[in-house]
Amino acid sequence: MTMYITLGISVLMIILGFIALLKQKIYIDADTQKATEIDIPILGKMKTNYPSLVFIFLGVLIIFYSIEKFHPPPLVEWKIEGTFVTSDSNFDWYNGQLSLFPKNIDAEVRSNGKFVITLDIEKGKTFEDVVEWIDYSHQAGSIKIIPANEWQAHNSGKPNSIQNKTSHSRTYKNIELVALPKPKPPN
């Protein structure tokens, strides 16, 4: 809705600018016998027929701006997968909570510890650009993945958790659950 209002205003500015151009009168300064100049803040001094051109120019500029602003780049589907592991073969992975920040995505861990996350990311950006962390929290422990750190380590040949990568997917190696004492209730 906002986009249409902005576009409407822009078109109106262009039309009014054209009308002003067609109906323009050039005022000659009696003393100098030159076209009168007006002083507009920011834009500076202009001849009296220039404001109508500025009107048209601004209208076109707003159209381009609103198209850019209201039509974000297309989204690309990314697939992130990996497996959480622990020494307890009967570990109940369902009983934990998998979350990503800042993307609010419903994702879960399967009974074997495997997780698959699909999310849409703006074209041109990577998973590491948009997701600050992945967290799996269970009463028995937790796992935290910082994608940017893993990616940086992967690219610099340092130990990291990335097993495979494509232009829009990441596969993490087996990641061990860090055992933690059972949480206490907050109250």
Binding site: D135, S137, P183, K184, N187
Partner: protein, 96 residues
């Protein structure tokens, strides 16, 4: 035999003496009575950034001592003091 045993004991003592064990903390919002989940914890003088889990827990492997830290959650940053003493018990930290 006794000398070997004594040597082994010394080696074990040296190993344990130089290893920093993880201390476990649980951060709780004193005002809201809730876990401080997924908060960013920056410890003064440390380059690593820590994050709490969904229960507000965090494990920190540092030599024993008192560390001042900044906890960032819900667009707020609050100071806390972490006392690392090598114990394996969960230490509750109520954040104001």
């Amino acid at each position: 035999m006794i000398r070997k045993f004594a040597f082994a004991l010394i080696v074990i003592a040296m190993l344990f003496g130089s290893t920093a064990f993880a201390d476990f903390f649980q951060l709780i919002d004193r005002s809201g009575g809730s876990y401080i989940a997924h908060a960013k914890v920056l410890i003064s003088g440390q380059t690593q950034t820590y994050y709490t889990d969904a229960y507000g827990r965090i494990n920190i492997s540092l030599p024993n001592g008192s560390y001042s830290a900044q906890v960032t959650y819900k667009n707020m940053t609050k100071p806390v003091t972490l006392i690392v003493d090598g114990s394996t018990q969960l230490k509750i930290l109520a954040v104001n």
